[in-house]
Amino acid sequence: MAEPLLRVEKLVRRFGGIIATDNVSLDVASGELHAIIGPNGAGKTTLISQLTGHLEPHSGSVLLAGRDITYLPAYRRCALGLARSFQITSLLLDFTAADNVALAAQAHAGTSFRFFANARKEKGLRDAAHAALDRVGLAHRADVLVSKLSHGERRQIELAVALASKPKLLLLDEPMAGLGVTESQGMVKLLQELRKEVSIVLVEHDMPAVFALADRISVLVYGRVIASGVPAAIRANEDVKRAYLGDQHVVTHHG
């Protein structure tokens, strides 16, 4: 098998006496959409934070395309092609949508220690920003302050920001959080498009969305991966049913 794009090996993270990440190992192949699910408090966000570099593990390792990034700071990982969206929307509220996305493009286009030329007039950056906004369907809102955008639109900007850095791997932390039904459907459609271009790790509560999108699913319970496999296998897995999905849920979605 080819080298996986992301390899997580025996990751352990404790908070006091609680083991939030308990020997987690998983692989994400290139081109794959790998979903991580689990009940509240299963340690999903803790795991994601260690992948993005916002939290240091106590042991284990994280490899991106074969390179050990376990202890690299967040900004270095980003430079290596790892982009993330936040569970709770985290944008520059007093900047326009285009500025938000252009800054992400700027981070990956040469040095930012340039003090004199007007960055908002750099065609390359503006074009990249508009392309990414167009990708998520928000090109017409480019010049609106993010503080004036709706929650749904902000979720889309989160994606555009992540895309603008031209990542190899996208870490999406609950992109559907707080979205209405129509907005969720739009997001699923969008992710279906994006997965053709970029590998994705998706943490999500929205089960229909996860089962519609994922190539493989890992189930996290109490910090441990109790099952990992294709959606059909996860659906059929007895441990998963008991621990998380609830029998009825699985039955109704069968087939």
């Binding site: 993005t52 916002h54 700071p73 967040a74 900004y75 980003c78 430079a79 982009a83 993330r84 936040f86 985290s90 944008l91 520059l92 509220l93 007093d94 900047f95 500025d99 800054l103 992400a104 700027q106 981070a107 990956h108 040095t111 930012s112 220690f113 340039r114 003090f115 004199f116 030329a117 007007n118 960055a119 908002r120 750099e122 920001v161 850095s165």
Partner: protein
Amino acid sequence: MKAFTVSKAVTALMLAGLVLLPLYSQLSGNIFILTLLTRIVILALAAASLNLIMGFGGMMSFGHAAYLGIGGYAVGMLAQEGIGSGFIQFPVALAASAIYGLVIGALSLRTRGVYFIMITLAFAQMAYYVASGLARYGGDDGLTVYKRSDFSGLIDLGNRTQFYYLCLACLFGVIFLIWRIVNSRFGLVVQGLRSNEQRMQAIGFPAKRYQLVCFVISGTMCGLAGALLANNTDFVSPAMMYWTRSGDLMVMVILGGMGTLFGPVMGAVVFLLLEEFLSQITEYWALIMGPLLLLIVLFGRGGIMGMLGRAGRG
């Protein structure tokens, strides 16, 4: 973008006043106006430099007066040692400020929020006590600068009018630089960090590096103000960097409007004029000044610039 607004009109009026009033002063022989204006322009320069980190960068430095002292002492100490050339004094003043900014910034930027305010304050107070201890250079009593910086006939700082226009040129130059900086790649990163540091880290910007460079630029600009101030008063003393002076600079920035280009200039003009005229009326001028500032800060969000902006929109 070309729309006429109240804030633009008032700013233009203020700038025109700064450019033209000295002519009036010369014609009428009223030297007092020129002296006051020179002081205003120099402190406006210091406030503008503070605004770069405080308004645009979100770094609440409570120790900015330290640079005034460092710039001033660079001029005073060199003059004392017989080095009177401005071509040496000014670069030394700027370099010393930059180095101080680099060291203090590297240490202070490990902290955030209130701790950042307190640590910058603590360092400035340290600088104050170091200056007080410089027995060779007057210690507590300060140091008289007997000869102003000598620019070998290029410009005569002893001439009040020439000196004033030098200060004004420095102020305009610094504001021009700040204008370019805040719209540059670097400036957008710094402002992005003010807005949401976590997000900026996540898209690939190492926060501290950019903030530190911004901190140093701001300090260097303020060092220039210090060197000018020493020439203006022909005297340097530890009081230049006392914490109340840092507070004054903060008040000027907040009063005028944080994160606006000309706000700090406006703030310095209003603050120092108020101080001047109130102190002529009564010895207890601070009793009037204090509540006045409080009212503006409480009810005028965005300072004077903010209020003018709202007035413009009606």
